[in-house]
Amino acid sequence: MKILVAIKQVPDTATQMKLGADGKTIDPTGITWIVSPYDEFAVEEALRIKEKRGQGEVVAVSLGPDRVKEALRSCLAMGCDRAIHLNDPAWGAADTLMTARALAAVVKQEAPQLVLCGRQAIDDDMGALPAQLGELLGWPSAYWIMEEAVDADGKTVRVARQVEGGLEVFDLPLPAIVTAQKGLNEPRYPTLKGIMGAKKKELKDVKAADVGLAAEAPQLSITALEALPPRPPGRIIQGDLPTAVKELVRSLREDAKAI
């Protein structure tokens, strides 16, 4: 069974974001890049499916600039068999739909039985791509999945999604798209041997023309980015207890309108 995992490289959660001079981008200096955590669940699940079936191939794919190779190499270090890097200046300003088109083109070429993604990338939190990809391919897709089981003959996948008070269970005919929610699994650490072996695995550069895509303009563009306003400082109410409590209640009611 061939599984394709779509991953995105995102700034580490510990990064303190700074706005770029143009007010539309993030200043990339000093950013540590990682594989988006939900995508790691997807990679882990793909590897587990392969290990459970005793055969198969896991292909990691990502769209982005040169630095994305490092994210793909971490996926190879975790155990993916090969990686595809959609790397073309034509995709420089790609929005989710352009990314979905590029991925759909790769999926058509690779013809996997299953595409796994994280439920959303933790940078812009769009979460739109898997649905767009499903639509472009005409494949069934299920999102925010907590449990997954591919049937023995690889014809369907049973997935479960957490809903208020329980689990919602679906059977999807394969090929299908499934996105991973936290709790699906506990991603493995890459082993040192895996890291050393990653270099020897195939990491293919793919241009737009290689997958038969013509240049297009993104339909979504960023007008402006704004930093969050600094949090107003807290207020400590001074004075003896009865007066302070009265002032607190007054302030909660009249200033904060919280009660």
């Binding site: 540590t32 490092e70 270090a77 082993t191 040192l192 050393m196």
Partner: protein
Amino acid sequence: MEKFRGVDYYEIEGLLSEDERMVRDAVRDWVEAEFLPVVIEHHRAGTFPLDLMPKLGEMGIFGATLQGYGCAGLNNVAYGLIMQELERGDSGLRSAASVQSGLVMYPIHAYGSEAQKEQWLPAMARGEKIGCFGLTEPDHGSDPGGMKTRAVRTTDGYVLNGTKLWITNGSVADVAVVWAKEADGEIYGYLVERGTPGFSTLDIHGKFSMRASITSELAFQDCQIPLENKLPHTKGLRGPLGCLDQARYGIAWGAIGAAMTVYDWALQYAQQRVQFGKPIGSFQLVQQKLVGMITEITKAQLLCLQLGRLKDEGKARPQQVSMAKMNNVQMALDAARLARDILGAAGIVDEHPIIRHLMNLETVNTYEGTHDIHTLIIGRDITGLDAFGM
């Protein structure tokens, strides 16, 4: 405190290969997720999280530079970075890995028979079997050449008599690499399995340093071991010193890890702690301490990196390893003391990692050749004159 982001003032990151960075990051993430949440409880109880040994083995930490026998075959810089990250967790964690890799797997790999290698290396690489290294004795620390432990040849093996003291993982080890003298007055190495009659261990309690690490006494009383448990390819003090050279190299890197963590912690604290209406980091005296720390850490990083590159080319001399061990551990100890000072009273509780590192580093200063012994080694090297007092 914010998540640790590494300490790199001189873009040393750019001198590392992608593999080296990936190895470091994998170990950093592991320490963050698996070790740091349990270290305080183990430090208080004076125990080591033994259940983590197989997990470290699974990652490929043990014997990482060795070729074959299930080992990862990394270069020395990657190995050093592993030690740095482990010691960022705790010197006790790095000690466990140093002993297993540098002091037990290394001599079995370098001096052992094929059967010994097959028996021990793969299982130790997986972290299923634990080893310890018995060189130091109650009356012979810096001067191991004077050891009293004896091995006497019998018809079908050797009989060991003597005591080893301050042995990391002594009581939990499945196998001890024990150094003893034979009738010819030369030092040889022997593999003694746990449970061998005449071999007993006793843990050392009351430690104020290296608490999250097991330290034991090994006693050999007419302890009979088979012939094939002797390491066939080592004779003389050079054998154990060769092992120490490996472990000291790892310590030089490990000390950077400890220093990075205390620096990072003190820096963040100084930016947040307000006294006299200002963050204490805005006072010149506090800045001077922080600047001194980052400067020394940067120098130590460059020292280790070049040493690692030399080692990979087979050019590193033991005296150069001595310099890195001596300098970097002193540097880390100084940094930990300054960091402790910057935290004020908060610096003495284990909620902050600083006092734990500070106390640990007192051991690191002493073991694997004390700071002063390394000074003498380098002194002899540059002057050609021996100051050991022999």
